[in-house]
């Protein structure tokens, strides 16, 4: 009975939570978002999500084969990357493009750095940035949600807007407002409800605020993510937008409208909270979150693009090691006397 005892260092017990469990939790948190995508964009949602997930997993598997290392497909991080990439693509994006994006995400975004835990940038955002740079038109061609009656599910470009509900995206509209001094204020008031329910144009997973909040709250309750980053992103973006709105309410839309439209919530709950590319310390997480919020709003209000979450996340990813160095915690007993 005592013939085979093991020795190893303490502690000899561990809590059951594993990396895989964390990834499964993120996938569960994304289920309401995927469901909303399926509701508004019908068959496009399963096609894009399925394509991205399969392409990501296969890419990871092949990269592991090339690296001759242990196979890391089982940790499900590639699945998460695939889903998030799919959710941040326009619903009408072609399947071949999604495959290219997924391959780039995993191969260049993650595996060249050494796999999970070693990447500097959020892999899904790397893939999306690559697609934006390569296929600019496809990445800004939007689909009208299938639930809007009387309009066929068709692709429309910002130029030929039919009416307020079949516009490109809410943010493209507010961008036009900034540029042409259009009646942005009125627009946002009319469409605020649609941005909450998700009955607007936009990327696959970013339109339905309710689904994003459900998923985000699930992750917070499970302890998979901490509240610091989402709160910092949302509050800083809100304050930035509020200052702009108070300064010129004719050109700029209401601050709450900025939170509910575009990828801000998807980014705050599911993309910025990617632990690998976010700072370790609580103080660092605040700085990182505020950085993303402010950067996003800077791009939205003062930049050329209507949406800025992706670039904001990538820019803050690049300074994460610096933030970590800046926010090194002091030991409980103070700094040791040399």
């Amino acid at each position: 009975m005592l013939s085979k005892i093991t020795i190893s260092c303490a502690p000899h017990i561990g809590q059951p939570l594993s990396t895989r469990r964390i990834m499964v939790d993120v996938i569960i948190g994304l289920v309401p978002v995927m469901a909303a995508a399926g509701y508004y964009f019908r068959i496009r949602a399963p096609i894009l999500i399925g394509t991205c997930v399969v392409a990501s997993v296969v890419t990871e598997w092949l990269c592991n084969l090339l690296r001759k290392g242990t196979n890391s497909v089982g940790d499900f991080s590639a699945v998460v990357t695939g889903i998030i990439l799919a959710l941040s693509l326009p619903p009408g994006f072609p399947v071949w493009g999604a495959v290219i994006g997924s391959v780039f995400s995993i191969a260049v975004g993650k595996m060249v750095f050494g796999g999970l835990g070693a990447n500097i940038f959020n892999p899904a955002m790397v893939g999306r940035a690559f697609l934006t740079a390569s296929f600019g038109v496809l990445m800004t061609t939007w689909t009208v949600p299938a639930t809007i009656k009387g309009v066929k599910m068709s692709r429309i470009a910002p130029e030929n807007v039919v009416d307020a509900r079949t516009q490109a995206t809410p943010l493209a509209w507010s961008k036009l407002a900034i540029k042409q001094k259009y009646g942005a204020n009125r627009y946002s008031e009319e469409n605020f409800k649609a941005t909450v329910t998700g009955e607007v144009g936009g990327c696959l997973g970013e339109t339905c605020v309710i689904a994003l909040l459900i998923g985000g709250v699930y992750l917070l309750i499970r302890g998979t993510i901490k509240f610091h980053i989402p709160l910092a992103v949302l509050v800083s973006a809100f304050i930035f937008a509020a200052i702009a709105y108070l300064g010129n309410s004719y050109r700029y839309v209401q601050p709450l409208f900025h939170l509910t439209s575009g990828g801000l919530l998807l980014g705050a709950f599911f993309i910025a909270t990617d632990p690998v590319t976010a700072p370790l310390t609580v103080k660092g997480k605040w700085i990182y979150g505020v950085g993303i919020g402010v950067m996003t709003m800077l791009i939205r209000i003062a930049g050329e693009y209507p949406e800025g979450v992706m670039y904001a996340v990538l820019l803050m990813n690049s300074v994460t090691p610096l933030i970590d160095r800046l926010c090194k915690p002091t030991p409980a007993g103070g700094k040791p006397r040399a």
Binding site: I5, I7, C9, S18, L280, P331, G333, P336
Partner: protein, 465 residues
């Protein structure tokens, strides 16, 4: 009962905050296996192996020869060094051998093996609180008795108690904290001592108070032991001259029984990094240690036995036993009915900080509070060697009671980046194991940090600055 005790024993007024420290974790307690088992006499052993180094400081030199006869309680090893503690034979018999035996921490190290000569019942010296009067003893007498009895910190560290309690002009001690937390899962020896040897503990506290000249005394007990709090509280009420002894019910959280964490919880003070409690005028002693002080001073009996919790799902008769120091783990397991299930690990101590041993002939030392035998299921994922990459989830930072960045230190050690490891205060780690316990990637963070500390210590020895 539990909630009530929290309120009643809180120091100060109606502060809603629980008395605790920052960080920490909640491993399953698993104390129900032995918490209701009374302390019973341990095995009547035929042979004991007394390790010559059972404490921090200089190892003892044997003062007996092979073939000598020794009496129970006779000193058999001693050292001239200030930081050291002598060792005694718990049984009457013949010195069979002075040779190497397995030590849980030090590996093969010298020990005196005593073979029982005659009938050697396991008996505690009788202690009567009625006859006890601390004014009979002077501070110097107490310190000398503690030194002669070879008492060391019995909570696990094994620091010679005399060195601790002796007053020193450079660091005057004001506060004495008695540690009855026992935060380590499975272990119940201190809990049983608090219930059964209550008067002896109080006598020991009074003696320690007299020796070190502390003016305020706190007994810190986790709030999952309301019976122990109750027992000590009623004993304090019926004993005269206990006005400055207060019981503090602290939050049940691992590692609440860590010296630094307990001081933080009770006094809201931090011990300086790399420093020791006397620097802020504090002294911490375990309940088993103060019980031993009472035995040493009043009964003039050295530290030859201790209470050991033998526990784990795999053991037939788990319980708390009064065991002669030097008994081999094997004998003790046999005495408890042996193992019934397939076991994976035999640990001296508890599952969080204990040391897994390979040699079952390893003797019990003064600091071994428990033998924990874990089954494969209980060890769980820690049995798998698979470590996945760190995903920077930050859980180790959350639980670190010393507010360190365990993942950075561990990875620095892994990659031989010693400067980085020191930059992240590797030496401030108290090796409590919380980071390894919570790590979802199953990385042995504590193991890496411990390795790094040993390496750096060796490097400094080779190249003194």
């Amino acid at each position: 009962m539990k909630v009530e005790s929290k309120g009643r024993f809180r120091r100060g007024s109606a502060s809603p905050r629980l008395i605790t420290f920052r960080g920490g974790t909640h491993p399953p307690q698993s104390k129900e296996l032995t918490r209701d088992r009374e302390i019973r006499p341990g095995p009547e052993v035929k042979e004991v192996a007394i390790m010559l180094s059972q404490h921090i400081g200089a190892a003892c030199q044997p003062i007996v020869r092979e073939g000598n006869m020794v009496q129970a309680g006779q000193k058999i090893g001693d050292s001239d060094a200030f930081v050291s503690a002598p060792v005694h034979s718990p049984i009457t018999g013949k010195v069979k051998e002075i040779g190497l035996r397995s030590h849980a921490v030090l590996g093969r190290s010298p020990a005196i093996v005593v073979e029982a000569y005659a009938y050697n019942p396991v008996k505690r010296p009788s202690f009567k609180i009625e006859d006890f009067d601390e004014s009979k003893y002077s501070s110097g007498q107490i310190c000398e008795a503690v030194r002669q009895a070879g008492i060391v910190g019995m909570g696990g560290a094994g620091f010679p108690t005399r060195v601790k309690i002796e007053p020193s002009p450079e660091t005057p001690k004001k506060t004495l904290i008695i540690n009855g937390c026992e935060c380590e899962p499975y272990i119940t020896c201190d809990y049983r001592i608090m219930l059964e040897w209550t008067d002896q503990i109080i006598a020991g506290i009074k003696l320690a108070r007299k020796a070190c000249g502390c003016s305020e005394i706190f007994i810190g007990i986790e709030d999952n032991k309301p019976e122990a709090i109750e027992a000590l509280d009623s004993a304090l009420k019926r004993t005269p001259n206990c006005e400055n002894i207060k019981i503090v019910s602290v939050k049940t959280k691992y590692p609440q029984g860590g010296e630094r964490q307990l001081i933080k919880a009770i006094l809201k003070k931090n011990v300086p990094t790399g420093g020791i409690p006397p620097m802020i005028g504090v002294l911490v002693a375990n309940v088993a240690t103060v019980a031993a002080i009472a035995e040493a001073v009043v009964c003039n009996w050295p530290l030859t036995h201790r209470v050991v919790t033998v526990t784990g799902d795999a053991i037939a008769n788990p319980g708390n036993y009064y065991v002669p120091i030097g008994t081999s783990v094997e004998d003790l397991i046999g005495f408890c009915g042996g193992v019934t299930k397939k076991s994976a690990k035999v640990i001296i101590g508890g599952p969080m900080m204990g040391i897994a041993i390979a040699d079952l002939k390893t003797p019990i030392t003064k600091t071994a509070g428990a033998i924990t035998i874990l089954t494969k299921e209980q060890v769980g994922k820690k049995l798998e060697r698979l470590q996945t990459p760190c995903i920077h989830c930050g859980k180790c930072l959350e639980v670190c009671p010393e507010n360190l960045v365990p993942t950075k230190i561990a990875h620095a050690v892994k990659n031989n980046l010693w400067e980085v490891a020191e930059n992240y205060y590797i030496s401030a780690c108290n090796e409590c194991g919380c980071c390894s316990y919570v790590c979802p990637a199953n990385i042995e963070l504590t193991g890496y940090i411990r390795t790094g500390k040993i390496f750096l210590a060796r490097q400094k020895k080779l190249m003194p600055a």
